[in-house]
Each structure stands twice: as C-alpha cells, then as structure tokens.
C-alpha cells in the first residue's frame, strides 16, 4: 500500500510545473490577487476599482484582514501573485500573515498595493516604512491645501485635494494625458531619501501641508509643500512593484464618479481623474505595462552567420538582441533609441547605441579593440518605470597568431637589403680568401 502511495507521488512530480503556473517569466502579468479588507462594505463601495481588474482577467480573492484562515503561501508556494491591502486600520493580520511575511512576499517578486488613511495603523506604517515611504507621524494628520482643494458643496473642507501634479512617465501612467485632477483625501507621506527606488507619482501642490485639521496649528507642520507625496510607487530590484497611497477613499466609487473642480480654476470636469489614474497605475503595478524581456542575444563576425567561440583583436563584429515589452496579453516589440551595449573588460572599451528595426530587434556593429583578454557583451538598461535589463555574455579576444602578420613589410625592405648585403659581402670575402689560398 505504501509503495502505491510513493508511486503515485512520483507520477505526479512531472505535473508540478503545471500546478505552479503563477508569475512565469513567459506571462509576467499577475493573475491571482488577494485583497485584504477592513470590512466587506469596502468591496461594494470600491467596486469601481475592482470591477475593471476582474474584467482584465484578475482573479480577486476578497478576505477580511483579520480572517484567521488567510495565508499567503502553502507548502512553500505562494498562493497569490499580488496583494492589495485596503485595511488601513488593521493592527494585526489574521492567520500567519505579518509585516515580515508581506515583505518576504515582495522580496520574492510579487506586487503590492497599500492604501493607508489617516489613523493608519502601526502595522501599515511599518510596511510602508520598509518600502521607503514615511507617513506623517501624527495619527490624526491629513493633507490640507487651502489653494489646491477641490471645490465642493460644503465650503471649508480643504482636506479634499484635487491634485494634478503627476510623474512625467508614459510607462507608469499611460501615454494619454490625464486631464482631470485626482481627488485625494488622506494622509501624506515623504520619501526616504536613502531609498533610490521609490518614486513620487502624485505629489501635493506647493501650498499643501500635513496637519490635524481639527486642531489649531501650534507648531510648523513637519511635512509641507510638494515634498509631500500622495501616491508613490516602488520598483524593487527583483522587479516587484509596490503602490502606496495615503488615501483609501481615492479608490472609492464616490471619488471615481464625482466631478471635480480645482479651486481657482474655471474648468469643471464631469468626472475626476481617479479612475484613469488608478487604472493606469494598476496596469503598471500588475506588470501589464513596462515589463521588458531580452532574448536571442547574437553576435558574429561581419559576413559570417555563426557565433565564434573567440574573437581576434581588430575583428569587425555584429551584435544583436531582441527586446520585447509585455502588453498584458502578448509580447510586443519594444521601440527605443537609447539601448546601449558595452564591450567590457574592467571598463567599457566600446559603448555603442543600438539601432532598432521597430520589430524588437536591436543591433549594431563595431570593431573589437586592439586589446586582448576576456571581454563581456553587456547590456545594462534601466529606465524609469521599466523593469531593468541586465545581460552579459562572456567572450575571449585573442591577439594575432604569428602567421597572421604580414610576411614582408614594405617599410622594412631597406633593413632586409642591409642584412642580405652584409651576408653577401661576408661570404664573398670568405670565398675570395679560399679561392686565393687554393691557388
């Protein structure tokens, strides 16, 4: 009987890759998303954010944050590709999840969306701090802006901000400009200056500050002006992406649908920019945009097709690589004019910008430098919003073989002549002597 169990187990091993088809390099978009909520009312009050995700093919799994049965992984395999934390007040997650488990989830290349709010719990703050984002320490603080607020029916509430200070990046926010300002109501944060990976996507206006709106302002606020970030993103070195927002309500149906008019501006938009902004941002976070892959690295001598095992100094060679961008459904050719290749040994001896044919193929040709040693073809491509490409391929370069030099060098003919004339006169002397002595 036990033999039969072992046999069945062995028979199932080849099927394991099929069972864990999450986040494969072939299809980098996330599929299974765990959504942790404070209470299930958020599921309906924020449905305008969730519905488009589901229609784009995401499998959303809604759970209460303190549900004792939630877990991120089972038997060492992650059950989800991404995590949405819409639970700003949670003090302790249910089940086995804690801040370290969430950071491990990110460290293994998975994505995360965190929405905080004023009165955000220490747990949410801790996760944000680990991601390079420091929320205002005053728990009751909100971002207040007396000149950039959104005009509403109840005058005097300047915590509802209309911001249109977006990051200038087509890959993060989509190529179409977001016209309407984004409504925001919540806590502001600042970026940790020592973290170079975190980016301000939506920043507050220069007149904003972060303070408790219900109490009188006695001391200067700790966060002021456009150094306040409202929404930030992180792309980790393992390509995991994180979105951190200081407002849960900016994801809500109410903010999605409401019109917006920025104070001091005559234009009244029928619909706020929240839906566009957050849809585009979620596409980026869930790897439906800005995910690059490089395949088919080739190099060969000009005029030959095969890749040599070694180059000679001063050889002319061609290098090519195919770069594609994931569009959410398929790999599309990546088009850019700033991809560069290095021919590298301790330092780049050759640095060339690759030309592209618009079909994803990047190519260039150059001459191997007059230096021999072990070189590398290196492509280091890091651009804002795109996953980084880092390719390197080792190739040795040898000097000329002794029979690859010219046999006779024209410039050396006088030297040849001198040497041979010396031989000639020496031997004519010898022959003359022998001849004379014989007679």
């Amino acid at each position: 009987m036990s033999k039969l169990v072992v046999f069945l187990f062995l028979a199932l091993i080849p099927l394991l890759p099929l069972l864990c088809n999450s986040f494969s390099p072939e299809k980098p978009s996330d599929r299974r998303v765990l959504v942790l909520l404070d209470d299930f009312a958020i599921k309906s009050s924020h449905s305008s954010f969730f519905k488009p995700l589901q229609s784009r093919g995401f499998d959303l799994d809604f759970k209460l944050a303190d549900d004792p049965k939630i877990s991120l992984q089972r038997y060492g395999q992650y059950l989800y590709d991404a995590l949405i934390l819409f639970c700003p007040t949670i003090e302790r997650f249910g089940g086995s999840i804690d801040a370290a488990a969430i950071l491990d989830f990110v460290d293994s290349g998975h994505d995360l969306i965190v929405a905080a709010d004023s009165n955000a719990s220490d747990l949410i703050r801790e996760i944000a701090t680990e991601c390079g984002v420091d929320f205002d320490e005053d728990p009751a603080a909100m971002v207040v802006d007396h000149s950039g607020y959104a005009v509403s029916a109840t005058e005097g509430d300047h915590t509802l901000i209309a911001s249109d200070d977006f990051i200038k990046s087509d890959v993060i926010l989509g190529s179409k400009k977001i016209e309407a300002p984004v409504l925001f109501q919540g806590i502001g944060h600042s970026l940790n200056p020592s973290n170079s990976l975190v980016l301000k996507v939506l920043s507050a206006s220069p007149s904003a500050y972060s303070a408790n709106p219900k109490s009188k302002l006695t001391s200067p606020p700790s966060l002021t002006g456009s150094s306040i970030s409202l929404v930030s993103v992180v792309q980790a070195r393992n390509d995991a992406r994180i979105l951190i927002s200081g407002s849960l309500s900016m994801f809500s149906n109410r903010f999605f649908r409401s019109g917006v008019q920025k104070a001091g501006s005559p234009v009244k938009h029928e619909k706020s920019g929240n839906e566009r902004f957050l849809t585009e941002l979620s596409k980026w976070v869930f790897h439906e945009r800005g995910h690059l892959k490089a395949v088919n690295v080739q190099h060969h001598k000009i005029g030959e097709a095969d890749e040599p095992a070694i180059y000679r100094i001063n050889d002319d060679l061609e290098y090519s690589v195919d770069v594609y961008e994931w569009s959410g459904t398929s790999w599309e050719p990546y088009v850019a004019d700033d991809v560069q290749v290095q021919f590298y040994m301790m330092s780049p001896y050759v640095l060339k910008t690759l030309s592209t044919d618009g079909k994803g193929r990047f190519f260039t040709s150059f001459k191997v430098p007059d230096v021999y040693g072990v070189f590398q073809f290196k492509v280091e491509y890091q651009r804002l919003g795109y996953t980084s490409l880092s390719l390197s391929k080792q190739i040795p370069v040898r000097p000329f073989r002794h029979n690859e030099y010219e046999r006779f060098i024209p410039a050396a003919y006088p030297y040849y002549g001198a040497a041979f004339s010396m031989v000639r006169i020496s031997f004519s002397r010898i022959f003359a002597f022998v001849f004379l002595s014989l007679n």
């Binding site: 050396a412 030297y415 040849y416 002549g417 001198a418 040497a419 004339s421 006169i425 020496s426 010898i430």
Partner: protein, 115 residues
Amino acid sequence: MARSTSKDAQDLFRALWSAYSATPTNLKIIDLYVMFAVFTALIQVVYMALVGSFPFNSFLSGVLSCVGTAVLAVCLRIQVNKENKEFKDLAPERAFADFVLCNLVLHLVIMNFLG
C-alpha cells in the same frame, strides 16, 4: 701658438694618407669592408628616423647585422695585423676561421630576427 689654417689641415690629411698607404693591402680591404658596414648602418638609422620605428625587429636586425659584421671585421683586422705583437702566436688562418664561424652564427641569428 700659431693659428691653424686650411693649409695645416691639408698637410695633416696628406701625412695621414701617406702613413696609411704603407698599410698592407689585405688590411686595407678589411678597412673598406668595415667602412661599408658602418655606412649601411648609418643609412638605416636615418631611414628609421624618417619612416618611424614600425617593424622594429627588422630595424634592429638590419642595424645589428651591420654593426656585428663591422665588429667581427675589426677583430679579424687586429688579429691578422703583423705589427700587432699581442697575437703574434696566432696563425692568420686560425683568425680567419674564427671570423667565418662568428659570421655564420651572427647571420643565422639575424635571419631569424629579421621577419
């Protein structure tokens, strides 16, 4: 001391030449041979200064073959000179055999280093 004139120089050279004329013919031939080698070496140095030192091994072997030949010829001249008492026990045939052997070695090395 009287001022030297071109006449003095002419006298000097004439005296030198008449003294040299007494040299045996075989030594004169060796002198000619040495002068030819040194002159060839000089031409090569001038050529190198004009054209550059590119096939440097060729340049070295060309010049050194001339210099080597000249040195060996001078050695031969010292040994076969009748007036030189230092080598009076050495037969001129023996000196010439040394010269031939050294020339062979020299030109073998030069030919290898030339190209």
